[in-house]
Symmetry: C2
Subunit: 495 residues, 2 copies
């Protein structure tokens, strides 16, 4: 009885949170501009309801009783434990803080849109300052052992700490710098896709085909256009992706759609019967990103994938791809070139983009950097790590949506995701007979089914690191990514 | 202080209700099919929250105190009185009933969609039966003096009763029957728009132009496609319309869009500062319909309107309108011909469609008709009033979305709306210099401004009948519609 009561309560909280999610989706995809003010207050009210229900003391008592209940199954017990942990954490948030944060996020999102229109960080900075102040406050009341940023990362990657990520990234930096040096010493290969126009609607139509091939269920989702691509779900049977077109760069929308499609397969692969429960949501953002990046990179930038799919592009853009082979396209898709925009970055330099953001956020949160110094610090780090000058705010500090959402502590999960992805993909190749041959024949479902079975269906039941061990028999190890990227670059650059 | 508290409370209720409205909009316009089950429970949860807040006993005490407060302005006092009335009414609904109703409505909507796909009323009937049982229960606990249907009509048209509407409709029936007989005795005029194809996207583009001309603000709204056209708002700065195309009938989408545009101008004309208050919402559905039908018929089917706008159609469809004059189009747009589909009906026989639904609903609610007899009764009445046989359920009893939403008591407001519209338009012609000349020149804003000023800005502060008197100096009088339609038909049929 009380377990059922627990489930009912959590599912009602989920109802309100998923309603908020729809209001957010609509705001970014459909809403007319003047709707902002009303939408902000509606989101604030819903977030207060969800928060108040989450921290309801009666619910706390129910949880404390249930966690002692020896009649529960392992899965039920695990759900209750995770919920109790959430309960204790959420109780650290006051309703005032939640409302303030929700309102500031809405303001910040709109300021970010406005700033991007003017290509001027100064339009965004004052609200970002408010947000950073709130995040510092949040780190304080959440508590941490060593570094305030630990408290924020824990939100996205439970258990991740500055100490751990600093150590990982130190190795990543050295290792990837060696590879980058080797690329720089190799003869330059021209990206033959550059300098042409690719009609946005035709690109969109191709991405729809990719999503279908991946096994994304359009009866349980849809793809639309937004400023910044994202995946959002209102339950596992309504999981939506967005994408954006760049008519000068054929890779931007293709990668975005496959990336978001990978996220969406994870969400669609959660079990509807676990609606609202920890077992009905994702393990961590690192794991979430492993799914998107596995599809975007390990699959979507592989030779096998383009052997099968290059004809979709030549059909949509016969002029643009005259004289191209699938191999040419595959090579252009995998060139290494330090660049300004994270989401357009190659697989190697991508992690420098992440490490830059990670450094800046750490400093913003511990107070060693202020928002007014952020733009200069950003530009300095791009010069230092990638050797490039940032010519404008839109191509620099304004490029990501994350800060406008108050998502500090998020970026590291992208790199963790790539590293998990390489390790999972390595394992999939061991277990699925002729995976590459299947990919080359368009049988992507063998991979989707494997991911559904080995990862998705467990939801949040296993911690990221435990899930990794369960799936691959090992803890997260950067060597899988290192080997994967080195093998690919050896092919591309004929090392 | 307590007035401010009252406003805050009402605005939070509005936040939740507007969030529900967005979930509904999305369900009908955007949602993938498998999203239904999750969406239903989300809507149910939100409706329980809104209901519980509406009937909060502490809020009741606040209202009872405020209603005695002599320091309030007239408008403040009126808002409080209306809210107290709503409070007392809502207290008659149990949370169980609200949740049951919300779930049944969602089920019914999906059953209606499924039934329409199969063109089979039997698919819809079982859920409709559940809904009718709930509506009978609702009439009982809401209470009524003479007829249970009074209790349901009051929801849409406060104060309307079976006694009053029966009497009005008796006169309408006789009067319109005379005109219909006269039409039938006149030489038949051919509808020259029939038998051609009109591309849906081109129609859509034309309706966007119409909406812009009417003064519909696209920065505070958008138009999309749905199964059944509707207008919905999430505050006065986000008011959305939907429409539907029929490539065989040029009038369906044009009329729908102008009709919904009329509704939308009303909602956009409400004052944002009155968000959540009675003064920030519409007076009655009859008044709402007066705005949509004034634009759809009195403006959108007038000679003056097509003098200005016919060129938009000839431009979009040069082949289809070869050899047409604006006058030809105006005549085709106003031909009287008994037909099957309410929303495609001409201005005269339209009211027979309404009277049929009104009769059937009255009987369903008082128990003299059962759902299993509904289809036969529908078909009988179409034979009796309009002299036509109903060849299929989609063209008959399944055509309207209203019952799938549980909206019983709604239909009469369409006819009331036409009659109010005629009276308002007559008044506008008295007050606006050369209104028809302005319409013929595309200066529709003079009419929009007049409606904003005389009707919209008051929201619900005046009862429908009082608003009518305030605007026109008279109570609602059917003679204005009678004269309007007779004058038009005299022109069309050269009487």
């Amino acid at each position: 009885m009380s377990f059922e009561k627990y489930v009912n309560h959590l599912q009602k909280v989920a109802d309100v949170q998923y309603a908020s999610a729809l209001l957010n989706w609509d705001q970014e995809v459909m809403m007319p501009v003047k709707g902002t003010q009303g939408r902000s207050r509606q989101l604030a009210t819903l977030s207060v309801i969800a928060h108040e229900w989450t921290i309801d003391p009666d619910f706390g008592k129910l949880l404390e009783g249930l966690v002692q209940d020896s009649s529960l199954s392992w899965e039920q017990k695990r759900n209750v434990e995770l919920t109790l942990r959430d309960f204790e954490k959420q109780n650290k948030y006051s309703s005032d803080f939640v409302q303030k944060m929700s309102e500031t996020q809405s303001k910040a999102f709109n300021a970010w849109i406005a700033a991007r229109k003017k290509n001027d960080f100064a339009v965004f900075a004052p609200v970002l300052e408010e947000l950073v102040a709130l995040k510092r406050e949040e780190a304080k009341f959440l508590g941490y052992k060593e570094h305030p940023y630990d408290a924020l990362m824990d939100e996205y990657e439970p258990g991740a700490t500055v100490a751990m990520v600093d150590e990982l990234f130190e190795g990543v930096r050295v290792s990837l710098q060696q590879l980058l040096d080797r690329v720089n010493a190799s003869p330059v290969i021209t990206n033959k896709t550059v300098g042409k126009k690719y009609d946005a609607q035709k690109q969109f139509d191709v991405t729809i085909e990719f999503l279908k091939k991946m096994g994304y269920d359009f009866d349980a989702g849809r793809q639309d256009i937004s400023e910044h691509p994202f995946t959002i779900n209102f339950n596992s049977r309504d999981v939506r992706v967005t994408t954006r077109a760049n008519e000068d760069d054929i890779f931007e929308m293709l990668s975005s759609s496959i990336h978001e499609g990978g996220h969406a397969l994870y969400e669609q692969g959660l079990l509807y019967e676990n609606y609202g429960l920890p077992s009905g949501t994702y393990a961590s953002l690192g794991i979430h990103e492993s799914q998107s990046r596995l599809w975007e990179n390990n699959v979507g930038r592989s030779k096998a994938f383009w052997e099968d799919n290059f004809q979709l592009l030549t059909h949509a853009f016969p002029q643009q791809f005259k004289g191209f082979s699938a191999r040419d396209f595959y090579v252009s898709n995998n060139l290494i070139q330090p660049s300004l925009i994270r989401v357009q970055a190659d697989e190697l330099t991508y992690h420098f983009h992440i490490m830059i953001r990670y450094e800046l956020e750490k400093q913003l949160i511990d107070g060693s950097l202020e928002v007014k110094e952020l733009k200069a610090a950003w530009n300095d780090l791009y010069r230092k790590y990638l050797g490039i000058d940032v010519p404008s705010d839109n191509q620099g500090v304004l490029q990501d949506i994350h800060w406008s959402h108050g998502s500090f502590g998020y970026f590291a999960t992208y790199s963790l995701g790539s590293f998990y992805a390489a390790q999972f993909f390595h394992q999939a190749k061991q277990e699925i007979e002729d995976l590459e041959g299947n990919i080359a024949k368009g049988n992507l479902h063998v991979l989707k089914d494997w991911l559904n079975d080995r990862i998705h269906k467990y939801g949040r039941l296993y911690k990221a690191e435990d899930l990794c061990e369960k799936v691959t028999g090992e803890k997260l190890d950067f060597k899988y990514f290192r080997n994967y990227i080195e093998e690919k670059l050896s092919d591309i650059y004929s090392w």
